[in-house]
């Protein structure tokens, strides 16, 4: 309180001194003061807005994960996951950014739950799922070919990344760049995937029991290949 009083006193003292010295300077000081006050208030509002939106991000991702489940299971499993996310986001012994990252990690990882989980849950909790064979709905396609779709999606994504790199190389006139970048990406992805086991997700589509070291190596090579193919296309066109 004392510090605040001193600051206010100093400010008005400064104003008085400036007023005596030059009226134009007084105007400039007042404008500066008003400007900084507005900037601080706006910054605070923007920070609150960003914070509120970031807080909703894990819930938004979780919503997508829940949408991947069959309709019959969404209410039950969704309620369970929401409760767990709520607990993560309201942990008192963690800082906000850490909580946000943990919440996002929880929600994003649930995006890769396999279709077989829904079948297991339906059988365990006596939910009747719509039969897969009835029609070619998106859900039935996903439930049959989730592994294939996941791998294909990653392949397309990596080809697109490679394509962008190839195009970039062409634009800056460095013909060897796509190959170099492709190889660098191959090396980097291999290293990162080996470190974090991330590519296990692609291979197994969430079925850790089916993962083997050989499959992981094949998948890593596949990533590099996809990038190189994309790079070649990007450079050619």
């Amino acid at each position: 309180m004392k510090a605040l009083a001193l600051v206010v006193l100093g400010f008005f003292g400064g104003l008085a001194a400036a007023a005596i010295a030059d009226l134009a300077k007084l105007g400039a000081i007042l404008l500066g003061f008003l400007g900084s006050t507005v900037a601080v208030a706006a910054g605070d509002l923007i920070s609150q807005e960003v914070r509120a939106r970031l807080d909703r991000l894990p819930h938004a991702v979780l919503y997508l994960a829940i949408r991947r489940l069959p309709v019959e299971l969404r209410a039950d499993v969704g309620k369970e996951w929401q409760a767990e996310l709520d607990q993560i986001l309201h942990r008192e012994n963690l800082y906000p950014v850490t909580r946000l990252i943990m919440g996002l990690y929880f929600a994003v990882d649930l995006l890769r739950t396999p279709a077989s989980m829904a079948d297991s849950l339906a059988r365990a909790r006596n939910h009747e799922l719509e039969p897969d064979t009835r029609s070619w709905t998106w859900r039935s396609i996903w439930r049959r070919y989730d592994d294939l779709i996941t791998v294909a999606t990653y392949f397309v994504a990596f080809v697109a990344v490679g394509g962008a790199l190839g195009w970039l190389a062409k634009s800056i006139g460095m013909p060897t760049l796509p190959i170099v970048l492709g190889l660098v990406f191959l090396m980097l992805t291999s290293m990162s995937l080996a470190a974090f086991g991330g590519f296990q997700y692609v291979v197994s589509a969430g079925k850790p029991s089916t993962i083997s070291a050989a499959k992981t190596k094949v998948a890593t090579a596949f990533t590099g290949l996809a990038i190189l193919i994309g790079a070649a296309f990007g450079y050619a066109f």
Partner: protein
């Protein structure tokens, strides 16, 4: 149904967490912390174990407005699950036990 569960390392980690206290209900996030498994790996395992009858799940009986948080689903290991888990963990432990003196490395030309 129970024989459909493949006893992988991750499954072993989850069951090990339950065997610490078979009467203690466990929640998803708590299990994630104990097993260090991510959510996308843990929940499919819980579903398979529940389907096999090794785990049972139920909603927590709380008043959300009083507790100021939503009710969570808790999992508990069944008697059958605990019995199979103990046997499987013991078998896994035997398989992973370091080799006996006969299989140890020894200096070239040396005798064990």
């Amino acid at each position: 149904m129970a024989d459909e569960v493949r006893f992988t390392r991750n499954v072993a980690e989850v069951l090990r967490a339950f065997l610490d206290d078979v009467n203690e209900p466990r929640y998803g996030f708590e299990l994630m912390q104990r097993t260090r498994l991510p959510s996308g790996t843990l929940y499919p395992i819980l579903a398979r174990l529940e389907e096999a009858g090794w785990l049972q799940s139920a909603w927590e009986k709380i008043d959300p407005s009083q507790a100021q948080r939503p009710a969570r689903r808790f999992y508990r290991i069944t008697a059958e699950g605990a019995q199979i888990a103990r046997l499987e963990l013991a078998a896994l432990s035997t398989r992973l036990r370091p080799p006996t003196a006969r299989g140890r490395l020894r200096p070239e030309g040396g005798q064990a």
